[in-house]
Amino acid sequence: MQTNTPDLEVANGSNLVAAFHLAQRAPLILRRQGNMIPHTSVNSGKNPEDYGVIEQLLFSCLQSGDDKSALLCTEELAARFGVTDEKVTGLRGLYEEATAENRPTLEKCLQKYDLMLSENPVNLPILKRRVALLRSLSRPADAISSLINLLDAVPTDAEAWCELADLYYSQGMSSQAAFCLEEALLIVPNAWNIHAFLGEILYSNALSSDGEDSFSLLEGSIHRFCRSIELCTDYLRGLYGLILATLLLKKNQHLDKHSEGPSAQTRSPLTSKILDELTIFARERLNEIVKSRTSNHLIWKGNQGELIAAKELLDRLDSSTL
């Protein structure tokens, strides 16, 4: 939950299968650790890493609906760090939100958060939970404004910037979303998934605009996808986006040439030769990835969705060129 995790899950399908498998082991892990510690001593033979494991376990349990184990996890953490610890209260709130049956219960959670924040206005986990809760109550405007307040105070939180970008994007405000992602990238400059996500936003923005804007947006999008591939050579989303963006830019350049002459094309450093090469490169690469990942699909089980989408794109391209 803390800041500066470079592998932020931005709009990636979270890995449900893996989460489920982890959650199935929850009783085992909890029992093993429960035997070892009586609740008295602080230093009870537990490594600091064990608590990280318990936190992860809590998330997996909540995702797979094992609420009983999740409650055990929060109690375990509360026993070690105290009930008033910021992070523990945040996780506790997460648990309560996840198990809330109906809207009034969620509203009650919100009131509880407001109360906690009136005591300690910089309780970051609770501030973030509050934003998430507002979002799940489908009040995106409130969520955005309170997230902006949060970011005004804590401008170095990449996670929050990404969340704000996602919120803006869900409201159709692409340029604001792009700004937020750039801010997040300033904090974690080598996060290839954020680069690719920024590329996706620029691409969809380019789809809805026309003329000069569309050209520059597409160029920016290609830059971003390339950068994400440069940082992570096998990044499927980056390659997928690169194919789409290069094809679209090529098509637009083609149309542009027919209509007005070489206005945008001469200005652009991306000649159609480079675009072609990029498309071919990305296709080859994507092909390889799809092949290797389908063959040992046990490892890549969680990301089947992306893989299927990539396959479909390749099939579509093959049929269109034939």
């Binding site: 005004d152 750039e182 400059p189 950068r227 440069e230 450093p269 090469e277």
Partner: protein, 268 residues
């Protein structure tokens, strides 16, 4: 001067060795370990910001530093200029300050400011933790073992080492190879770092060098400001740093780079 070529011999009771060298060494190691745990116990973590405005004041500076360090990898020319202008004007107008009204006034005296006082107390505690045991041990050695010559080094040394190895023994003619008890203490004091590193792990509090380094470089922590430091001055500095920056963008030409590096490995 000592006669050349003639080995100086001093008849020492071998018990001297066991009753002075070992006690001093063991006491030094034990105090080092004790100091480590005492520091760990008394160390209170830097206080997090208590209001949103305070948090903004602290992190606003880090934002500028981030922009300066990472803009080449991320931003295009226009978005860099936009952010630069925003941050520079915000820094210069003091928009990030906790209370803009106090701007330009001399910083509060750290002695009267409770937060500054606390930080100073922390530093003081650290220094005390070094000073008190050292004073005690040194007076202990002075009281019991002063003037003993306890070791003979197995190798010759030049005359310059005399002050280092024979403090507390005022004999001009003694060979440099003889080591006095007080000097043995000093050698232990400075030479046991690696032993502590071995016993306690590399980032232990017993090694005072790291402690001094830590107090000199607080930017690693959450609060970039030292007590008594004026945030406004740091902001002005940062604004200047940003203003003179020259921007380039590694996204320019990234396509060629990708093609050259990754596509080149395959033959089409």
């Amino acid at each position: 001067m000592a006669l050349q070529g003639v080995e100086q011999t001093i008849l020492r009771d071998p018990a001297l060795f066991y009753w002075i060298v070992f006690p001093i060494t063991i006491v030094m190691i034990l105090t080092g370990i004790l100091r480590h745990y005492a520091t760990v116990l008394m160390n209170n973590p830097p206080k997090p910001a208590s209001t949103l405005a305070e948090s903004r004041e602290r992190l606003g500076l880090i934002r500028g530093v981030n922009l300066r360090n990472n803009c080449h990898a991320v931003l295009s020319k226009e978005s860099f200029e936009m952010r630069k202008n925003y941050l520079v004007s915000a820094y210069q107008s003091g928009a990030f300050l906790k209370d803009p009204a106090n701007r330009g006034q001399p910083p509060a005296n750290p002695m009267t400011d409770p937060a500054g006082m606390e930080a100073m107390m922390g530093m003081m505690k650290g220094n005390m933790m070094m000073m008190i045991p050292q004073t005690l041990i040194m007076s202990w050695i002075n009281a019991f073992f002063s003037g003993f010559v306890i070791l003979k080094l197995p190798f010759p040394l030049t005359i310059r080492f005399k002050s280092m190895l024979q403090s507390g023994v005022m004999t001009r003619d003694l060979d440099v190879r003889w080591v006095s008890s007080l000097s043995w203490y000093f050698l232990n004091l400075f030479g046991l770092q690696s032993v502590f590193g071995f016993i306690l792990g590399s980032d232990n509090a017993a090694s005072h060098m790291s402690q001094q380094m830590a107090s000199m470089n607080p930017a690693a922590g959450i609060n970039p400001f030292q007590p008594g430091q004026d945030p406004d001055k740091l902001y002005q500095n940062e604004a200047e740093n940003l203003e003179v920056m020259e921007h380039f963008c590694i996204l320019d030409g990234v396509e060629e780079r990708v093609l050259r590096h990754y596509a080149g490995r395959k033959s089409y």
